[in-house]
């Protein structure tokens, strides 16, 4: 039982990170109907921004952690907007395959630039965040796990507020529902899409820092696997559906943690893939998604 709770906690903290990344995929898919492959590398850039800022900050302070999170989120938001402006905006209305290829190109460009600039060797993330181990009966709870879950929850609430309670959030939902009609009622689609990229990338940046906090070895290819899994999480929850992405992330993180704790631990990376195949076979719209018929 103790072990179960311990694993559940580990799983939830991993799942919270997947959820943060999955949100970016799902939001961009919502407004543009394409998979932003470069998202997983924005996540990596977030971790590296945290790494470089963290070197100039005192260790184990609360304000230092906040500064790291804020700068990583800001930098990633800018990067996301830049990517959208330079690469994707010119392709509005182009065949989906071209957009997909561009997205893969951007992803590879970020990865190989990362390798050229930072080197391929892993680096150790500085211990800026205060770490304490709390013991709750037989359970050992590391403060970084709580922090990950807490920050992720706070960001989710903030996101929910932005999407459902603000003007720009309403505009986002309008563009997602019907881009042409949104334009007709006076919404500037480009601005909304740019904002969506900024929001999603900021969440990925936060995810990058939080991930590096729990797994403190970072390298330019660190985003590939978490990105792939987060995408599976987004599909699991129903792509385009914001609560679905959060739910999918938590489920996937938990399942993965339980598998890596079992005798099949070497196949933990295969789990996400298996889950993906199962959803595609049995419920392609995802757990919370609605099945829609494509019209001409």
């Amino acid at each position: 039982m103790t072990e179960f709770l311990q694993q559940l906690l580990n799983g939830l903290s991993l799942g919270a990170i997947y959820a943060l990344i999955a949100l970016g995929y799902t939001m961009v898919y919502g407004v543009l109907r394409f998979i932003n492959f470069a998202h997983s590398d924005v996540f990596m850039v977030g971790a590296f921004v945290g790494y470089f800022v963290g070197q100039h900050l005192p260790h184990s302070t609360v304000w230092g952690s906040l500064v790291i999170l804020a700068t990583a989120m800001l930098a990633c938001a800018l990067l996301g907007m830049l990517i959208e402006r330079l690469a994707y905006r010119r392709l509005r209305g182009a065949p989906t395959l071209n957009v997909l290829i561009t997205a893969i190109g951007v992803s590879l460009l970020l990865e190989s630039t990362g390798q050229a600039v930072f080197g391929a060797e892993p680096r150790t993330f500085p211990g800026v965040f205060p770490v304490k181990n709390l013991t709750l009966g037989p359970l050992v709870i590391s403060s970084s796990q709580l922090l990950v879950i807490g920050v992720a929850a706070a960001l989710l609430v903030a996101l929910q507020f932005i999407v459902f309670r603000t003007r720009i959030g309403t505009a986002m939902r309008a563009v997602s529902l019907n881009p042409k009609a949104a334009q007709l009622v006076g919404i500037n689609n480009d601005r909304v899409i740019s904002f969506t990229f900024a929001l999603g990338s900021a969440l990925a940046g936060a995810g990058g820092v939080l991930y590096a906090l729990n797994y403190p070895s970072i390298d330019p290819l660190m985003g590939v696997m978490p990105g792939l899994k987060a995408f599976v999480a987004a599909i699991l929850g129903g792509i385009g559906n914001i609560p679905g992405a959060a739910l999918g992330g938590l489920i996937l993180g938990t399942v993965e943690t339980f598998v890596s704790g079992s005798q099949f631990s070497t196949y933990k990376d295969a789990i996400a893939f298996g889950v993906l195949i199962l959803i595609l076979l049995f419920r392609p719209a995802g757990l919370l998604g609605k099945f829609t018929v494509e019209k001409v």
Partner: protein, 325 residues
């Protein structure tokens, strides 16, 4: 006999003829030629999926690795049992190699079927991700099988790949892909590429076309893998990663998706590029050129973006006006 069949037979004979004199060819040159041939097979077969059918597979290297391992198993484990340690005479060696390649191709095709059925029912985006995931998983699986060397790689493959086998396979791949696409059945691939909804409306089973294209492509990737394994004589599971798949994808896109001649040219160009940079570095003494080939990925990714923005029909697609994109 149709012209295409004559061309195939001529190409096969030419491959065998050149192969007889292959010991007169400079070994380095022969090496490069073999690499080019393998890359042509990979690029032309991937073009069937990514170009003609308009889907997007990112796991071609994964199918290649299945072919490499399976055909390696046949020649390494089965060969000595049937024909003794040396593999018997030249004839039995070649027969064995034929069946090894066939086994590699068929197993890759089977894997393609398993991966393709769930993902091809949906849009191209999903296929890209599933194949990407598949490529990574298959590597993990091979790294965990100790009988084929595990993470250290599969060593001790016999040197069966020669000019005749490589270019015979190239000719066969080009022949099958071109004839398939130009056949009545093959129009279905193009229709699926052009407009999936419209094709379904006129009664085409687009899923079946997509799966057929995918399985055929996987088959040839498996054969290319078998040739690669028996040319390098060892298989490193890490050699079939995502970057290898991307290299093949770049060949297809650079050549122009759905344009076989362009894709062949692109495969030749991209295989020669690192070699050319290396020898240029040696000739001129400019070591920067050598490091340029290390940044291959940077150049490829940049090329992908620029091509999609400026010339989505590919570099070597010279059909103006009605470009198939």
């Amino acid at each position: 006999m149709p012209r295409a069949h004559l061309a195939l037979i001529a190409a096969l004979l030419a491959a065998v003829a050149v192969s007889i004199f292959s010991d007169k060819i400079d070994p380095y040159f022969l090496d490069v030629l073999t690499s080019i041939g393998i890359n042509i097979i990979l690029a032309v077969s991937l073009n069937l999926v990514n170009g003609h059918t308009g889907q997007f597979s990112l796991g071609h290297a994964g199918f290649m690795s299945i072919g490499a391992y399976l055909s390696g198993c046949v020649t390494v484990f089965l060969g000595p049992k049937l024909f003794g340690d040396a593999g018997g005479t030249a004839l039995t060696q070649n027969v064995l190699f034929f069946f090894a390649l066939l086994a590699g191709g068929l197993s890759a095709a089977l894997a393609g079927l398993v991966v393709g059925i769930p993902s091809l029912r949906l849009k191209g985006d999903y296929l890209a991700l599933v194949t990407l995931g598949f490529g990574e998983i298959i590597r993990v699986v091979f790294q965990n099988i100790d009988a084929v060397g595990g993470a250290l790689g599969f060593i001790g493959l016999p040197p069966y790949t020669n000019f005749a086998w490589t270019y015979g396979a190239v000719a066969l791949t080009v022949f099958v892909v071109v004839c398939l696409v130009n056949s009545t059945y093959g129009r279905g691939f193009l229709a699926t590429h052009d407009d999936e909804i419209a094709s379904e409306a006129i009664g085409l089973n687009t899923t079946r076309y997509k799966i057929t294209a995918f399985v055929v492509a996987a088959f040839f990737a498996g054969i290319a893998g078998g040739l690669y394994g028996h040319y390098k004589l060892s298989i490193d599971p890490r050699g079939f990663d995502f970057m290898r798949s991307i290299e093949i994808v770049v060949m297809v896109i650079l050549g122009g998706m759905g344009n076989t001649v362009g894709v062949i040219l692109a495969a030749i160009l991209l295989t020669l590029l690192p070699e050319g940079l290396r020898s240029a570095a040696d000739l001129t003494g400019l070591q920067q050129l050598r490091s340029l080939s290390e940044y291959r990925m940077l150049i490829y990714s940049f090329l992908l973006i620029v091509l999609m923005l400026a010339r989505p029909q590919g570099l070597f697609n010279f059909r103006f006006g009605k470009a198939r994109v």
